[in-house]
């Protein structure tokens, strides 16, 4: 710390016995990125900037909307329509001109996420959707970065510190140890659909800043391998311990290259309902009609004149080497449909959603002249089933 104003600015926390100049120095040297400058991100950013976290990245591609102001307290009506990352950065810079604040007005995708995660010491997840949450979690596991997690729904919030080892050799849990697979996008309502009490992300986001500050400075007991649930209506706090799952690592891309190839949007999406034309009964087939369960699929594998097609994008894991199959990523399937010769075709993907889409497309082309199937539950369920059979 090299100037008098810093001593004055941070004086109230520096006089704390466990904190002192040493902890302040650690804060000033820390690099933290907040992904999502919304309900959780705004309060987290405010308190970290105020506390003197030296470098703060803000990643958000969204613009401010009037219905954000109920909980996203960094913005004003004059900011509506403007970039959240940039508005948040300029507001925070006014609060603390002595720290570096870097806005990234970009959407995080697998191709750019790793470079952001690499550039910072701690990642704060303030996003509002499962596909980005799983992507950030996997990136943090791959790059071994602590992830401060928070999420809200209606009147309840969750906070946790993932992927953080206080001592070398400690086990660190991540989000997939809690929820191995993303829910389908219609399985859990988001805030837009379910609503959220504005102050709730304020409380949870502030707790996330607190966890971050504790990790950086080494004071207190961060929520390592713990999930805290807070209920704003009755003030009940419920804290549960988490454990590393044996299969978790197999769900996460094994390399940076595989990560950039993973389609997180697909993992969370429901099959497109537009694909089934409701006004053409001849081509219509109930989407469940294509599904084949694991046991029937395994029986089918032994028959002749069958083509099994992996419609996942290149590099997606798990790798399949237990049976013979072809690879046609869904993105390239339409132009290759005519080349599919077998009378029996089974598509598979990660969870059985993209393969349903593939089955529908093939049916649209060939109709009932082929037996068309989609592996129910995808290769993840299949692998799980096989494992159970052998143990």
């Amino acid at each position: 710390m090299n100037n008098i104003s810093s001593y004055e600015r941070y004086q109230r926390q520096m006089i704390l016995k466990e904190f002192g100049e040493a902890a302040q120095q650690k804060l000033l040297q820390a690099k933290v990125i907040v992904i999502g400058a919304g309900g959780l991100g705004c309060p987290a950013l405010q308190y970290m900037a105020a506390a003197g976290v030296g470098t703060i990245g803000i990643a958000d591609h969204d613009t401010v909307a009037l219905n954000n102001l109920q909980r996203q307290v960094l913005y004003t009506v004059n900011d509506v329509g403007e970039s959240k990352a940039e508005k948040a950065a300029s507001r925070l810079q006014e609060l603390n001109p002595d720290i570096e604040i870097i806005p990234y007005n970009v959407r995080l995708i697998p191709q750019n996420t790793l470079s952001f995660v690499k550039a910072f010491d701690i990642i704060i997840d303030g996003t509002d959707n499962f596909s980005t949450r799983y992507m950030i979690n996997d990136a943090c596991v791959l790059l071994n970065k602590p992830l401060v997690y928070g999420a809200v729904s209606q009147y309840e919030g969750q906070v946790a510190v993932f992927n953080y080892r206080q001592n070398e050799g400690d086990t660190a849990v991540n989000y997939r140890d809690l929820f191995p697979q993303p829910p389908k996008d219609d399985e859990v309502l988001n805030c837009e659909e379910a609503g959220v009490l504005g102050i709730l992300p304020g409380i949870i986001g502030t707790m996330m800043a607190n966890e971050t500050i504790k990790i950086i400075t080494g004071i207190g007991e961060p929520l390592i391998n713990q999930l805290l649930t807070y209920n704003a209506l009755n003030n009940q706090v419920y804290q549960v311990s988490l454990f590393a799952g044996k299969e978790t690592r197999s769900l996460i891309p094994e390399s940076e290259a595989a990560f950039t190839q993973t389609d997180y949007e697909w993992l969370c999406a429901s099959p497109s309902r537009n694909a089934i034309a409701p006004d053409s009964p001849d081509s219509y087939r109930d989407r469940d009609g294509f599904e084949i369960d694991i046991e029937n699929f395994n029986t089918l594998l032994t028959s002749d004149d069958i083509t099994v097609i992996d419609v996942r994008e290149p590099g997606e894991i798990p790798v399949v080497n237990e049976f013979i199959f072809e690879r046609i990523p869904l993105s390239q399937l339409k132009e290759n449909l005519a080349g599919i010769k077998s009378n029996t075709v089974v598509f598979f993907c990660q969870t059985g959603k993209r393969s349903l889409q593939a089955a529908q497309w093939l049916f649209d082309t060939f109709g009932k002249t082929k037996n068309i199937y989609s592996l129910q539950g995808g290769i993840l369920q299949w692998k799980k089933f096989q494992k159970k059979q052998t143990t």
């Binding site: 997840d125 809200v152 729904s153 209606q154 309840e156 549960v240």
Partner: protein
């Protein structure tokens, strides 16, 4: 007094949007393990069957079937996505 074992009810605390289906707490008798509990809950609340959640027994998340004894408290924790 082995017969005592399952007479104490299992207390269940429910979180998030699952409470729309079950309410925020309930207790069930004659529950032997977590798989058994989930089956009973699905019978009582069919809408719960396609919901995603993790089960915690006495504040520890469990991922495999776990025996429940006297007075265990079980929590059902769904994922949240909001931010």
């Amino acid at each position: 007094m082995m017969s005592q074992q399952n007479i104490m009810p299992v207390n269940i605390i429910i979180f998030g949007q699952l409470t729309d289906i079950t309410g925020s707490s309930l207790s069930l008798d004659n529950i032997t393990d977590t798989d058994n509990l989930v089956r009973q809950l699905n019978k009582l609340y069919p809408a719960l069957a396609d919901k995603k959640y993790v089960v915690a027994v006495d504040k520890q998340v469990v991922t495999t079937n776990t025996v429940l004894t006297n007075n265990n408290t079980v929590a059902l924790l769904p994922p949240f996505s909001g931010g």
